[in-house]
Symmetry: C2
Subunit: 162 residues, 2 copies
């Protein structure tokens, strides 16, 4: 009983952050996405690409599926913003962001409760016996916190409420 309540707490938190982040992206034009969140810092479009890569890589990490867009990793994870000049369009990234999260959402909703407590892909079966908290649900928790961190920055691109 506690277990199911806990899975709901974490999956709900994830979904809430996704919804809140989508609201920000929806409110920003492609042009506004090209602005930096603060002087000299990441642009909105870089954070959109970065979050897309990190979430895309959750598909194999959670042992759900293969990454959909591995070609985004060198641009939005390995390189910092503005290091690579030619990046995908906001239009394309918005679509990829949506597709990756839809795929994740589908798997998340369908994973049986007990499976959340099995290991994620980056830990061996031997190590997992000693560190059972390194399970799939912990990946979701960690990425929810990561999303919130960048959502706080993306909020700075929005028009200020007067």
């Amino acid at each position: 009983m506690n277990t199911e309540v806990l899975i709901k707490m974490i999956t709900d938190s994830w979904q809430k952050q996704i919804t809140a982040t989508n609201k920000i992206f929806d409110n920003l034009s492609d042009e506004e996405l090209l602005r930096e969140v603060a002087p000299g810092r990441n642009r909105g479009i870089y954070l959109l690409g970065h979050l897309t890569v990190v979430h895309d890589r959750m598909l194999p990490l959670l042992r759900f599926d293969e990454s959909k867009y591995p070609e985004l990793k060198p641009v939005f994870l390995d390189a910092p913003d503005k290091a690579i000049e030619a990046i995908p369009s906001a239009h394309q990234l918005r679509q990829q962001w949506k597709e990756v999260n839809d795929a994740l959402s589908h798997h998340i909703q369908n994973l049986p409760a007990a499976d959340w407590f099995t290991r994620h892909a980056n830990i061996s079966e031997e190590d997992f016996i000693k560190e059972p908290h390194r399970n799939r649900l912990n990946v979701l928790l960690d990425r929810t916190i990561h999303l919130s961190n960048h959502r706080g920055q993306l909020l700075l691109l929005q028009h200020k409420k007067e």
Copy 2:
């Protein structure tokens, strides 16, 4: 067994965010805390006060204790930044931030596992029967995500790594 693993996952995440946020505050001088995270946005000192209030209010919300510094609420929760001119010093807020988190940490470490799944102070016993996810552990999860959101903004005050 799952329950204890899950409590560890969430309490570890909380502590990790506190440690990471303290590192930022420790690296910023009192003067740097007076800067805005982005043009026209909250100052670092406001976020320090805001997080102190939110965490202080977790003491009664988690049914641990009374708030230590209720006088901070009108300044850092009810009012936006720069609405009130006379605010406490960075020196005082740093100390209050530490005291609040130390108190929380003490209670968090000592709460028996089963008690995490009892209601928080803002939900009635009747409603809690219908919504068992509105428990004390969910408050900690929610505030961990809240902290991460503002930590992402505070990071913008740090000197850029070259």
